[in-house]
């Protein structure tokens, strides 16, 4: 038979009266435990997440500061010159003036006489000859030159902006038919965000730009960037 326990108000009152102090202390301990379990423990678990977030933010700030220092250290004039040099070597589009200038300069330097030349304008991306991924304009030229002059002409042409590549040489009785391609590359919009690290040009890249500028034939191509241009806009 189960013993029946009867607790009425009077009994509760009696228990409370006898154990009032115990119950108060017990309640304090229970409340402290609940406060610790509900508020403090989750906060403690947040600390490691906050530490990771802080580390990430510190890294971002470091990159931002580095980018800022780099941008302020670069002289606008030098950057403009570097951009013009690079664009003259690899134009944004079909640069007829640059190509004619390059051919004239190469023929002048090497002493070859140009008979005639014609451009093949249009969508001419031939994977056989082109460096992959670079559109180009094909040009056929007829030159009158000795082998030495022809060598000089090719040398001059390869050291002239815009960048070109001879793809075929056909020489018959003093006349040489050359086929050359002139590369160009439109810039693709950059998806760079503020927190992506910017790097200055390496010394190798600067040397290359100096070499190109020493070719001394490039026509400064106008590169216009709006004042409010965003990174995704150029």
């Amino acid at each position: 038979m189960n013993p029946k326990i009867n607790i009425d108000i009077e009994t509760i009152k009696l228990i409370y009266k006898n154990y009032k102090v115990h119950i108060r202390y017990g309640a304090i301990i229970l409340i402290c435990f609940l406060v610790f379990a509900i508020i403090s423990v989750p906060k403690m678990f947040q600390i490691s997440g906050l530490l990771d977030a802080r580390k990430n933010e510190e890294k971002k700030l470091e990159v931002l500061n580095k980018n800022y220092r780099l941008l302020t250290s670069i002289e606008e004039g030098i950057l403009d010159f570097q951009l013009q040099t690079a664009v003259s070597a690899l134009p944004e589009g079909k640069d007829f003036v640059g190509i004619i200038n390059a051919i004239s300069l190469a023929s002048g330097k090497s002493g070859v006489s140009l008979d005639d030349y014609n451009f093949q304008v249009g969508s001419v991306i031939d994977k056989t000859f082109s460096v992959e991924g670079f559109p180009f304009m094909k040009l056929s030229l007829v030159v009158r030159a000795s082998p030495q002059q022809l060598d000089n002409f090719l040398q001059s042409l390869s050291n002239t902006s815009p960048l070109s590549e001879v793809t075929s040489i056909k020489q018959t009785s003093g006349t040489t038919n050359l086929e050359a391609v002139f590369y160009f590359k439109p810039s693709v919009p950059s998806n760079m965000s503020d927190v992506d690290e910017l790097n200055d040009l390496s010394s190798k890249e600067k040397d290359l730009l100096n070499t190109i500028s020493s070719w001394n034939n490039f026509l400064p191509a106008p590169v216009v960037l709006q004042e409010d241009s965003s990174l995704e806009g150029f």
Partner: protein, 178 residues
């Protein structure tokens, strides 16, 4: 009759036990309050100290400074892209003048070059001379060039003829470019 029965002593020991329990409870509850209080303050301070908000504020300041330099940033990225592409082209394009130089250097000066074609895959040279010795020299030079495996990989004599009336030897060779 027993005289050492002390009911008061049992009562006192009960009270002592009760007091002990109470003081233990007091100590635990005060300790709990102190522990929760101190730990809460410490956690609050730590959270405040490591909160990334202050860094985010600094980031916003730097971003606003960098935004003034946006055109410069765009130019730098553009130059960087261009120069990388230029490097690719310069590295990969074939240097015809070097090939031409080697081919021309191996053609004896006393032969007449009838035709010379150089493209991505092949080199064709056709020469003529009245002297068989010079033709021999021309062929030997190109055989040596092919053996060097530098400019030409394989060499084929495509045609060799003699014009009886002119007394002129003509030879055409073809080489696979490396």
């Amino acid at each position: 009759m027993k005289t050492d029965i002390n009911l008061l002593s049992a009562l006192q020991s009960e009270e002592k036990k009760e007091e002990k329990t109470l003081s233990l409870l007091r100590i635990i509850s005060v300790g709990s309050i102190l522990f929760v209080g101190i730990s809460s303050i410490l956690i609050f301070l730590i959270v405040q100290a490591i909160s990334p908000e202050s860094i985010e504020k600094k980031e916003k300041e730097v971003i606003s400074k960098v935004s003034v330099l946006r055109p410069k940033q765009a130019k730098l990225i553009l130059v960087s892209q261009k120069i990388k592409n230029i490097q690719k082209i310069i590295t990969k394009r074939s240097e015809y003048n070097e090939v031409l130089k080697k081919v021309v250097a191996n053609i004896p000066s006393s032969v007449v070059v009838n035709s010379m074609n150089i493209d991505e895959q092949k080199i064709h040279v056709s020469v003529g001379s009245n002297s068989l010795a010079v033709i021999d020299e021309f062929l030997n030079n190109f055989i040596n060039l092919a053996n060097e495996k530098d400019t030409i990989g394989s060499l084929t004599i495509e045609n060799m003829s003699l014009g009886v009336q002119s007394g002129r030897y003509t030879v055409s060779i073809a080489g696979e470019r490396i």
